[in-house]
Symmetry: C2
Subunit: 238 residues, 2 copies
């Protein structure tokens, strides 16, 4: 290293906010019970210290798998928390990541620094270690903001689904009892990313239309919209 930097340095951690859903359940979050001090036996987000040679996202995925067994998830960076005093071990900066997964597809087991691991409903949480309650709240706000301006969560539905199933998913993520059905349908269909694939069969009620999410079409629309904006500015939306 030709240029050295000799001042004191903070420690660096990563934390993971993994939201889990499956049909009919409330929105849940994956927590671990800490096996060591500080905050021993307290519930916390999975996470830990970053190694000197690994990328931040790689560190987050490694800690998540070590402590909970959860792997193969698509995580996104949420926010970096660095207030002095947020950790009794001294100055510790934490880069937080988040993801939304189908919890039925992610069996958990505790190991490493975690003595237990559990999916908690987000409105029935235990007390959390460090500033993890704040990190979780920022993640909930981000997830709910995101679902309002881009299609997410389709991978949590069967490949073919009804609009009622999709609406149920959105209600669960947003934590609201019942979105207005007519508005929801109009808005979601207007996005132009659902493809009709048939009708329900063998049901007692009037069969509902089945849709699939057209990911290619979604990506094309997003690209076209950007190109249009650059070329002609026709599709400006606020």
């Amino acid at each position: 290293m030709p240029y050295t930097y000799d001042y004191p340095r903070p420690a660096l951690t990563v934390d993971c906010v993994i939201f889990g859903l499956y049909e009919g359940s409330k929105l849940k979050v994956l927590l671990i019970e800490r096996a060591h001090e500080p905050y021993m036996a307290c519930w916390a987000l999975p996470g830990g210290f970053v190694e000197m040679d690994e990328d931040l996202e790689q560190a987050a995925l490694r800690e998540l798998e070590e402590e909970t067994g959860v792997k193969n998830v698509f995580i996104e960076q949420l926010y970096t928390f660095g207030a002095p005093g947020r950790d009794p071990r001294g100055r510790v900066i934490s880069v937080a990541y988040y993801a939304l997964v189908d919890l039925a597809e992610h069996p958990v087991r505790s190991a490493s620094d975690a003595s237990k691991v559990h999916w908690f409903e987000i409105d029935r949480l235990p007390e959390l270690a460090f500033d993890h309650a704040q990190i979780l709240q920022v993640a909930i706000n981000r997830l709910r903001a995101k679902v309002r301006y881009q299609p997410i969560g389709f991978e949590l539905l069967p490949e073919q689904f009804t609009l009622s199933q999709l609406q149920g998913l959105y209600e669960t993520i947003l934590g609201v009892p019942a979105l207005n059905k007519r508005n929801f349908r109009a808005r979601i269909l207007k996005m132009g990313v659902l493809e009709e694939v048939g009708k329900q069969e063998g049901v007692a009620h009037r069969p509902a239309i089945l849709y699939r999410f057209d990911k290619k079409r979604y990506e094309q629309l997003a690209k076209d919209r950007y190109d249009d904006l650059l070329k002609r500015g026709v599709d400006f939306e606020i």
Copy 2:
């Protein structure tokens, strides 16, 4: 410190992407010429190492003022960059912040680790140190995404302004030559946050309507929309 952590630690920096505008100009970004190695005499984002007892945002504002003289700006956290190898001094994590300011209100002068400071048009940039070109691109994308779903930049206009002035501001931020006038007006008025305050006087052409941005109304609408969503789900928008 009851719990010590003895592993190697990365160094921690903050970097600031300060976008500047004034009427008629292209979107600009504030850069400094580095006074020291590494990358001596190369242009870079203002920034530097975080002190052990200061908050991340406070560190960003301190470095910005030390190096450029710019102060009293509202910065937001952008993203944290931590790829191994991004800095020749060893492992350095950088938390990036960004802001959009009226550059006429922020005179600059170089000091500290900066030998020069200059506002560059974002499509006429010099080569940048470290991974700062990447950080800047992430900031441009974030700014342009943000302007599409919430009102920003009103503080860069006179208190009373025409829709043409507002459209010019948006075109500058988005880097597009001409948004569709009819669409832009319809969308912006539909937001319900502009208040008519009169008409232009003493102009040769047909006088345009003057508006002001109703910040209280905007905050109330955002709150109502959220309350509605929680209570009745009537206003769901994707």
